[in-house]
Symmetry: C2
Subunit: 189 residues, 2 copies
């Protein structure tokens, strides 16, 4: 019925995500998106609603995957599960290449300055996600809720830090020391 696109709709979102992840929002032009993904500026407007809307879709995709496939699953032996998750998390052999640009959501939070409600919604979802997952793990193993909260907050902080360290170094190996130190700390809990 109609001409086929240069790039499939979902593939375009994934490709754009990588670009935003690397370059941020403001420093990535629609012409560069066009050139590097094949998605034309025409289709960007007509089918995705423009640059900002496409960006939000890449953020939502990012959070979906974080929620379903990335964060450690709650199960048995939660301290050891957490410890080894941190080790894996920073092992360059097991990280996707794109990780060297840190965390798309953290980068975005810093690039925008809290004035954008679309971004703020995603930000809230992100932090809720992080805080809940660690709380869920630790509350199984630790009785004092005070202590669970304290340790959850530290682990959440270290997740943030890992991403900053890796992006700053532009190198997936840069988080190993922090991750291994964290694993060691968790095993002492």
């Amino acid at each position: 019925m109609s001409r086929s696109r240069n790039i499939e709709p979902e593939a375009a979102v994934q490709a754009a995500q990588k670009l935003f992840w690397k370059h941020g929002f403001y420093d990535l032009g629609t012409r560069q998106i066009e050139q590097e993904t094949g998605l034309t500026r025409f289709t960007l407007q007509k089918s995705y609603g423009g640059k900002k809307a496409l960006f939000l879709r890449t953020l939502d995709l990012y959070l979906d995957i974080a929620e379903t496939r990335f964060l450690p699953e709650v199960g048995t032996d939660n301290l050891e599960a957490l410890a080894s998750w941190f080790e894996q998390r920073a092992d360059p052999e097991k990280m996707p290449e794109i990780s060297c640009y840190g965390c798309l959501m953290i980068n975005t939070i810093i690039e925008f300055h809290g004035q954008d409600t679309d971004i703020n919604q995603r930000k809230d979802r992100f932090f809720k996600l992080l805080r809940e997952i660690f709380h869920a793990h630790l509350s199984i193993v630790i009785k004092s809720d005070d202590e669970v909260q304290a340790k959850s907050e530290i682990l959440m902080g270290i997740i943030l830090a890992l991403n900053v360290v890796i992006r700053a170094a532009d190198n997936n190996a840069a988080g190993q020391k922090l991750a291994n130190s964290t694993a060691r700390m968790i095993r002492e809990w």
Copy 2:
């Protein structure tokens, strides 16, 4: 001999620093600098060498102050000194207002993507500073160098995380839980 400026040279740098801290580099225009500080775009070019050069001066100022007045001083009773430093660090009563925008250097590292040598130089200075200060403290109290390195890395990570959490919330009180948890952890070392 010559007409006096709207704003004194060093005051202009400080005022610009606050603006960059809040808005970042790309999202702060020279017209806005002009309007909010009194520094004219003419003088920005003639005396400061343009927007980028002024920005680098604000970064250098930031690092100078971090080095001399902000980070915890090495002395006696270093674990307690570190613990209470973290508490103070996140106490909204004792933080400057501008802190709710996080750390100028971290924001900058994320906004630029490692391709700018001017920024990279400051980035290296920044991380060197952080790693050295914690190592200096902990190596007095802890014998195993392995352990010193591990714990230094964690504290450095938490500094980064504190700034991200505070900027994300746009609220100086947002780091208290993490800071207090960290103080508690340090006192258990």
